[in-house]
């Protein structure tokens, strides 16, 4: 039965999402519990999956019994397994958290929960997919539900959802164009199969153009600077209850799709018309990390600030995976998992502040710190993780990226990681300055933080520290998987 785990992980949220309109037709209040139960089941399955993958090796799942180059295959390797575990965990926590901040309009809305479940199943598909076309299909499943969820708050958010839709569809079209180039050049869509044929074809203009189109398309999806413009507005105006899930997963999974393509198709040192591809990607990452951090520093709205923080971290991860050595790659991947958890925590705090104190800008945050120990503690832990101090996972990710950069003797990349860390510290200092500052005019009433909020904030903060403590074993099996050729 264990060989069916990948498809089970996909089917659980998918079937539940599809049958939600029937199950909850008469009792709308069941939606939330059913969704929570589904993600709980997914969480257990993904733990089992990680255990199985680590003990018995990667699972290759061939749909319909057709062997891989002919049929459609999914690959469940250690990297996929741990990303799926992170995804299930973040989804589960987001729903617990969503019980508190969800607006009354969405609370009993069947479609809202259906969209969340189908979003997660689409993301699971992207993570497992082993061929380029499957990645496209599942990216679109996830993106289409993402557009709808961003617009679910109504009002202004619809405008930003429409912009997200236009840009996202443009990205998907570019990706499709690029993949058709690769298909024409190689005659196959399976990533492992393409990787066998491609090294001899790197001089072909069609292949280079195809890879560029794929990269541009995925850059829009992962909000890589300068193609990030849809993200801050979309996430700042999306319903608070779903932003932790969207912000932590959608861009990261698009990045993961690119990492798989990059890792299997672009070998270190490969050059297209005298341009070293990996170095170019690394420079783009440096640019994104620095500009994203600087843009976060000048924001006044906290959700937008956190959104730009996420954008700068996408650059950091891209630096890590483009260094061309295992240390940097593993650091980047570990940071991707960390960043998913940190983004979820950041948007939870932003949503909670908005929910309890109606505060969304830095000015309005004045004095919140004195009234809410729970939120303050959570913010401090997230800040430590975002800046990258030792007990948390953020430190070990950044440390390995820097080590990888030094190993590759790319000192500018190492400098960029440190500079973006300083920028992160800068914008958290701005938040803390307001957070602990005596209120200028309004005095907040002390508000009872509900139990669901305490559980979700507490769990996610603990998980950031646990990721740091477990970093060594995670590095070990990621390194083993990189060394054995799969990633």
């Amino acid at each position: 039965m264990s060989s069916h785990l990948p498809i089970l992980l996909f089917l659980v949220p998918f079937v539940m999402g599809v049958s939600m309109p029937i199950l909850a037709a008469k009792r709308r209040s069941w939606c939330q519990h059913l969704t929570l139960g589904t993600f709980g089941l997914m969480l257990i399955l993904s733990m089992v999956n990680l255990q199985v993958v680590l003990t018995e090796g990667p699972i290759e799942y061939a749909f319909g019994g057709w062997a891989v180059p002919v049929g459609i295959g999914w690959l469940d390797d250690p990297l996929a397994a741990i990303v799926i575990l992170t995804l299930s965990f973040v989804s589960f926590i987001s729903i617990i958290y969503g019980r508190v901040v969800v607006s009354s309009k969405l609370e009993k809305n069947v479609q809202y929960y259906t969209l969340i479940l189908i979003l997660v199943s689409g993301l699971v598909g992207v993570v497992f997919a082993a061929d380029l076309f499957n990645v496209f299909v599942f990216l679109e499943v996830a993106a289409l539900t993402g557009y709808a969820l961003v617009g679910a708050a109504g009002g202004k958010s619809l405008v930003y959802a429409l912009r997200y839709l236009l840009l996202g569809s443009f990205g998907a079209t570019l990706y499709l164009l690029g993949l058709s180039h690769l298909y024409v050049a190689t005659g196959t869509l399976n990533m492992a199969d393409i990787a066998l044929v491609l090294p001899g074809l790197m001089t072909s203009t069609a292949v280079a153009a195809g890879l560029i189109y794929i990269f541009l398309g995925l850059s829009i999806k992962m909000a890589l600077i300068p193609l990030h413009s849809w993200l801050p507005d979309a996430y700042a105006n999306a319903p608070s209850s779903v932003t932790p899930l969207l912000a932590s997963t959608v861009t990261k999974v698009a990045l993961l799709a690119w990492v798989r393509i990059e890792y299997s198709l672009i070998t270190p040192g490969v050059e297209v018309s005298h341009v070293p591809v990996l170095v170019l990607l690394e420079e783009i990452g440096v640019f994104a990390a620095l500009i994203g951090g600087a843009l976060a520093l000048i924001q006044t709205d906290i959700k937008r600030m956190f959104a730009y923080g996420g954008i700068s971290h996408i650059g950091l991860i891209l630096i890590g995976v483009s260094l061309g050595n295992a240390t940097g790659f593993v650091g980047g991947m570990f940071y991707l998992i960390n960043d998913a958890v940190m983004q979820a925590a950041l948007f939870m705090i932003a949503g909670a502040v908005l929910h309890y104190y109606r505060a969304s800008t830095l000015e309005q945050l004045r004095g919140v710190g004195r009234k809410s120990p729970w939120l303050t503690a959570a913010l401090v832990v997230v800040a430590v993780a975002m800046v990258g101090l030792p007990p948390t996972g953020g430190f070990f990710g950044k440390w390995n990226i820097i080590l990888g950069a030094l190993e590759a003797q790319h000192y500018f990349a190492a400098f960029a990681v440190i500079a973006s860390t300083l920028l992160t510290l800068g914008y958290f200092l701005r938040i803390f300055a307001c957070w602990f500052h005596q209120p200028a005019s309004v005095e907040f009433k002390p508000i009872e933080i509900s139990k669901s909020m305490r559980i979700s904030l507490g769990t996610i903060c603990v998980s950031m520290i646990v990721l740091g403590l477990m970093s060594d074993s995670i590095f070990q099996f990621l390194l083993a998987s990189v060394a054995s050729g799969g990633a």
Binding site: H4, I7, L11, F14, V15, V18, S19, M20, P21, I22, A25, Y61, A62, F63, G64, G65, V110
Partner: protein, 153 residues
Amino acid sequence: MIRPHDSAIVRTLGRIVIPVAQLFGFYVLVFGQFGPGGGFVGGVVIAASMILAILIFGIDSPDSTMARNILHGDGLGLLIFAGVGGLCMIGGGQFLNYTYLQIPNLDQASQHFIGIMLTQIGVAVDVAVTGVSIAISLSFDDDEIPQDEGTHG
């Protein structure tokens, strides 16, 4: 807002064309295994026939009953698809491996036939539902669509 068409020619022709289109859609769906066609195309043709009924007779008319009712089946096609795949998994094979489809007293060829047929029907149902609901949501305001007590909302 779409109003019923009052031209006798359109209404009479509609009564002739719609059943033929539906039959043709069903043929394309079933024939998909032996030639061009299949669930997606068949679903589109069936959806087109129902949209035609809405355009000619209006959404409230008894002739559009099928188009109104099919909106409730939005998850049904996917459930058929996933259900067939799940039955194959229960039988011990991979998802959608029809060799393991557990239907007693069938040889392997028939298992494959039934399996692919059912999944194609699932695809057709969903494509038809999507087509009709796109047409309806583009042409009516929310409060104009006649609904039964909140099962689809």
